[in-house]
Symmetry: C2
Subunit: 290 residues, 2 copies
């Protein structure tokens, strides 16, 4: 894991020597945000959209970010000689004691990249989810932020794995379908492609937005809608979206098959469209880097 | 901040050189737990209770902890030559990619200690809290754990400070009074000393437990009870408890005075009792260190 080169606060350094101070608020308090991206053929897909989301989140929590992050992400991928990669940018509020943010924070920004190809079985056979014991809290002030504190999701995935599943599906506190541990959820009901709205506390996923656009481009009805868990029983398909996994059929939830219990045509078509998008370079973005 | 000596994975090292790897799950995912303790005259108060809570939490999330942590905490305080100190033990699941915990985690344990004395104004004048915008989610699988992900509390405190307050008070998602950003809440209503039950998602505070015992020792009625926010209007006093702050009068919430708007006799008496406890050494604990 500690291989290759890491970008850290303006410098490319050997991963084994890159280190976070023990007083970093990212480590002490999860006080920071992150982005996970994918590079295809050496180019980071939707880099501009990821950095824009990061900047919006940083503004909400009062975290000052340095300029030049798009170049930094590209430099990290290039320095590791990677074509197909998972790229992560982590930005914490830097060193500081106590809960209240320091008046003049000195953020810590780390960018890592590692070789990445998704398991083909995900797309060919689909994945199975357990229902998470906990709920996604749509009322939190940090709702929709890709904040560092993922323990609830870690526990949910560990419990799902122990139950023989691949992932965990969260309801919000009102009982609506929300999202998986680190992916957005879509269901296909009555030929409509539906995903829970941001008011359910879900992450405004970059892939989620791309899928809504791609479905509309095919002339399909694609909407945000609050969904009761019963929607899964009526769905002909369901799938999960994230930058790393792209579009993965969700064939079973809590022991019950979704639709036929096998990957369906909507997920297959959208995955093909999405992969075209990742190949054509038009969504690379991030050139302005404001 | 980066002064003194830090205990890290079995060794005392210079704080400036102590560092966390960039792939540590504590930094990447808030995948870990912590304890905050106070040392009085060089002795860590309620060390055994803190380590016991840490071990229970670690068991819940499947985090293996090393033995010898009580000695490690004592060694850290001693190595820094501290008498009155804030001590923090942070335990993360160590390095690892992806959400699912590694099969054989190599946890990172860091213990820091710094000189600490509370601001006397807290106890003399009391503090003021704003109501947090977010809710404390009593339904999460990690409810009651002192998990690393504190961004929601950081944001709440930052917003409270911006509104001229000292702290933020959270309701749970059902609308009950829950706890402050990093302290438990007590209210005194009809001569009863009341604190929200753990079912409201609050931390099982070590100081909270001590206060319940001390109040009972005085012959007072001291109980866990679900409390509507209106309880604050009827309360003659309210106070917050934590290892660092001990017992701090809460004299105003959301712009409304609690009781007379000044520190009251119940908080004063319990603080005196609590300080006796911190002086007599009987609750030092942690000798067995299982």
């Amino acid at each position: 894991m500690s291989v290759g080169v890491v970008w850290m606060n303006g410098e490319l350094v050997d991963a084994a020597r890159a280190a976070i101070g023990v007083y970093d608020r990212g480590f002490l308090l999860g006080d920071g945000l992150f982005e996970t991206m994918r590079a295809y053929g050496g180019r980071v897909f939707a880099l501009g959209a990821h950095l824009e989301r990061l900047r919006r989140g940083a503004e909400r929590i009062g975290l000052p970010l340095p300029d030049g992050l798009a170049d930094a992400v590209r430099a990290t991928v290039a320095a590791n000689g990677l074509a197909d990669a998972a790229v992560r940018l982590t930005a914490s509020r830097g060193p500081g004691d106590g809960l209240a943010p320091p008046e003049a924070p000195a953020p810590t920004v780390v960018i890592t990249a590692r070789p990445y190809r998704p398991d083909p079985a995900w797309h060919e056979r689909g994945i199975r989810a357990a229902l998470a014991r906990g709920r996604l809290d749509e009322h939190r002030a940090t709702a929709g932020l890709k904040a560092l504190g993922y323990l609830e999701a870690v526990v949910a995935v560990a419990e799902a794995r122990a139950a023989g599943c691949d992932d965990a599906l969260f309801l919000d506190t009102a009982g609506h379908l929300a999202e998986a541990a680190a992916s957005n959820l879509f269901v296909v009901v009555d030929d409509e492609v539906l995903t829970p709205p941001l008011s359910c506390g879900v992450l405004p996923g970059i892939t989620r937005a791309a899928v809504l656009r791609l479905a509309a481009r095919r002339g399909w009805t694609a909407l945000e809608r609050e969904l009761a868990p019963e929607a899964l029983a009526r769905a002909t398909e369901a799938f999960l979206t994230s930058s790393l996994r792209e579009i993965v059929p969700l064939v079973e939830v809590a022991g019950r098959a979704v639709g036929t219990g096998r990957p369906g045509p909507v997920a297959r078509a959208l995955l093909a469209d999405y992969r075209d998008l990742t190949r054509d370079g038009s969504e690379e973005g991030g050139t302005d880097d404001r």
